[in-house]
């Protein structure tokens, strides 16, 4: 029963795309109801799993056998995939309903829904894959759909550039993924997870490094991160679906999948920890002074992803997974409410031009406040059940102190930039043109946000109460460590409130150095995006023209030969060039010789 139901879940959205009646208007509603039913059906295996803790592997269609490698289509339904699938379906349902309102005036809205549906299918393939080939298919699928969706308004050059950036950074990660697949084929002769975990090889540093690179590319860790803020060029439903809850989770999800291998390899754990810590601090710094509301939320996503990496680095993959699930809810909700603000203010994305929405848009402002509180880990909301255990475990485990400090600073910065959004967008006096109509009455706008609010409040509790803990949490710790997360967050709140209140009175003549560092995203895109292509292009130009053409073909042999001969001849010879004299003397000596002989 488990098997059939979950296969039905996957096929329901596929049937919708196969019908292809996207000329009619009801394609949208068919899609939305298909996703709704898929969500309802997917709850059944999840509840069965919660009750019985029985994992299942479905392996049905044998595709091909290459020498000794057997490839088949197999699905793995364990704790991770069974918990993530209903969450992904729920969020996609809410986003599809939201985009019925948001993209209402778009002539290609049918195509938009088709792309969203394709994205959902590939994401589900990725999550439920049992062998690396299927996971790779899902991986590439979400990459392609992200490209198509970011460049939705493809008349705008910034959107095209951002989509290309996303594709390229994902590609760099894909190289790591392929290296991992190749290593597993060579050493373990299989791409199935069961075989990999059973044989448990001892020298797994190289494939796990490849996996880390792949996750860094997909989940925008430091070094491969600029595509995520640039990906905000896409429509808000795209940002909500891809870049807050699902696609950027693919990288972290794959890392979590490999946790039996990562338990044994301390090097990889330390590098994950450090990479995650650097990411979370760097993106939190960048998020502090951005002025575009979507960019702040995107950098906040990146920061939370870094936090998840840190959790994996301290060998707590289950905590990372729970944080992933809860983060999906409130981040999607933050994006949806920012979309509502943007549309209502007539496509205004700059928070310096918003204000006073506290009274005019009550549902949206409630959503933002609840979402921000959940994000910062307010006790007993959703984020508390996932974020607080992470900080507690990090404080009590034997890890790098520097990474720990950086993570704590980043947590306080989370509170700061959330306060900044609330302050600029909601409080104060309106700073937008007075003739814009602010209207929240459409049920397609309000219902998804309401559902996600309920999810943000209750899901943390539900998930953590219904899962069996795989590692024993620390129950006793000194009070100052227990309150560390809370104290750090409160510090962030108060400092941010003070600073934001000061902006009413104080104004800098010229932004300070730190401010421009933060606003320009740490100068990372400006340096790497220009220097690296410039270097490789000049290197290739030098190779082709100078080295090949002018040196090897021209100068090496012909010209060198002439100069060598000329210098040698002029050095050695001491002739005077009197040809007739030499010839006459030659003739004379021959005649004399002949005469004497005869």
């Amino acid at each position: 029963t488990l098997m059939l139901t979950s296969l039905i879940i996957l096929t329901l959205p596929i049937i919708t795309t196969l019908l292809q009646n996207n000329k009619t208007n009801c394609f949208l509603y068919i899609t939305k109801t298909a996703v709704t039913y898929a969500f309802a059906i997917s709850l059944i295996p999840t509840l069965l799993f919660i009750q019985s803790n029985q994992e299942a592997y479905i392996s049905n269609w044998h595709w091909m056998t290459i020498h000794t490698l057997k490839l088949s289509m197999s699905f793995k339904l364990d704790f991770f995939s069974l918990t993530f699938m209903p969450i992904a379906l729920f969020i996609t349902w809410s986003i599809m309903e939201f985009s019925l309102w948001y993209m209402h005036s778009d002539p290609h809205i049918n195509r938009f829904f088709k792309y969203l549906l394709l994205f959902l299918i590939t994401m589900l393939i990725l999550v439920s894959a049992n062998n690396l080939l299927q996971l790779f298919m899902g991986w590439e699928g979400v990459g392609i759909m992200s490209f198509l969706l970011i460049s939705w308004w493809h008349g705008r050059t910034d959107a095209n550039t951002a989509a290309l950036q996303a594709m390229l950074y994902n590609r760099i990660g894909d190289m790591g993924f392929i290296m991992m697949m190749a290593w597993f084929t060579i050493h373990l002769n299989s791409w199935e997870f069961q075989q990999i975990f059973l044989t448990n090889p001892k020298n797994t540093t190289l494939p796990l490094l490849g996996l880390l690179l792949a996750s860094a590319g997909k989940s925008a860790q430091f070094g491969l991160h600029p595509w995520l803020p640039s990906a905000m060029e896409g429509p808000t439903p795209v940002s909500a679906l891809l870049h807050s809850s699902t696609m950027v989770m693919a990288g972290v999800f794959t890392l979590i999948r490999f946790y039996p291998l990562m338990e044994n390899n301390l090097t990889i754990q330390t590098s994950t920890l450090c990479l995650g810590a650097i990411t979370t601090l760097f993106t939190a710094i960048c998020a502090l002074t951005q002025n575009d509301i979507k960019k702040i939320i995107a950098l906040s996503t990146s920061s939370q992803l870094g936090l998840m990496m840190v959790t994996i680095g301290i060998n707590q993959p289950h905590l990372a997974f729970i944080h992933m699930c809860t983060h999906a809810f409130f981040k999607a909700m933050l994006f949806l409410s920012s979309g509502s603000i943007i549309h209502n203010l007539n496509n205004e994305q700059d928070i310096r031009k918003m204000g006073g929405l506290y009274k005019t848009m009550p549902i949206t402002s409630t959503a933002i406040i609840i979402g921000s509180l959940a994000l910062t880990g307010m006790p007993f909301l959703t984020g508390f059940y996932s974020k607080d255990p992470i900080i507690e475990t990090a404080n009590m485990s034997y890890i790098n102190t520097w990474a720990l400090l950086i993570t704590l600073i980043a947590v306080s910065m989370t509170a700061s930039y959330s306060t900044r959004i609330i302050f600029f967008a909601l409080l104060g006096q309106p700073r937008y043109p007075p003739l814009t109509q602010v209207n929240e009455n459409n049920p397609y706008l309000v219902n998804p946000i309401k559902r996600l609010i309920l999810g943000s409040i209750f899901m943390g509790f539900l998930i953590s109460m219904n899962t069996i803990p795989h590692t024993t949490p620390q129950m006793t710790m000194p009070p100052h460590l227990k309150f560390m997360a809370l104290a750090v967050t409160l510090l962030g709140f108060t400092v941010a409130t003070e600073l934001n209140n000061m902006t009413h009175n104080l104004m800098f003549k010229q932004p300070s150095r730190m401010h421009t560092f933060s606003t320009m995203l740490g100068y990372y895109p400006t340096t790497t995006h220009r220097i690296l292509p410039y270097l490789s292009l000049t290197m290739s130009q030098n190779l082709a023209t100078t080295i090949m053409d002018s040196i090897w073909l021209e100068k090496m042999i012909p010209k060198n030969l002439t100069t060598m001969q000329k210098t040698a001849a002029s050095l050695v010879s001491n002739q005077k060039g009197l040809m007739k004299l030499y010839f006459l003397s030659f003739l004379l000596s021959i005649t004399l010789g002949l005469l004497i002989a005869l």
Binding site: L578, M579, I590
Partner: protein, 98 residues
């Protein structure tokens, strides 16, 4: 010694004297050089036919090959001289030593 050999050897000697004694143009020396080679070729061919030694018929052919190379080198030298001096007068050759 048959008369025909003396004839051709005489042709060779006249060409030799022409190579060594010339007035102003370098190209006349090269022409006489070609004449030398021609007479040598004829001598070799007649010799190998009269002696009835079949294997030595290859000698004139090899001589032709080397003659061609030599003519090419001579002409290249002529062209370089002509490039630097404009004419191939022999008096020019001790001017502008490089």
């Amino acid at each position: 010694m048959p008369y025909i050999y003396i004839n051709i050897i005489l042709a060779f000697v006249i060409s030799l004297i022409g190579t060594l004694i010339y007035r102003s143009h370098l190209i006349s020396s090269l022409l006489c050089l070609e004449g030398m080679i021609l007479s040598l070729f004829t001598l070799n061919a007649l010799l190998s036919l009269n002696i009835n030694f079949a294997l030595s018929t290859i000698v004139p052919l090899i001589l032709l090959v080397f003659a061609a190379c030599e003519a090419a080198v001579g002409l290249a030298l002529l062209i370089i001289i002509s490039n630097t001096y404009g004419l191939d007068y022999v008096q020019n050759l001790n001017l502008l030593q490089c």
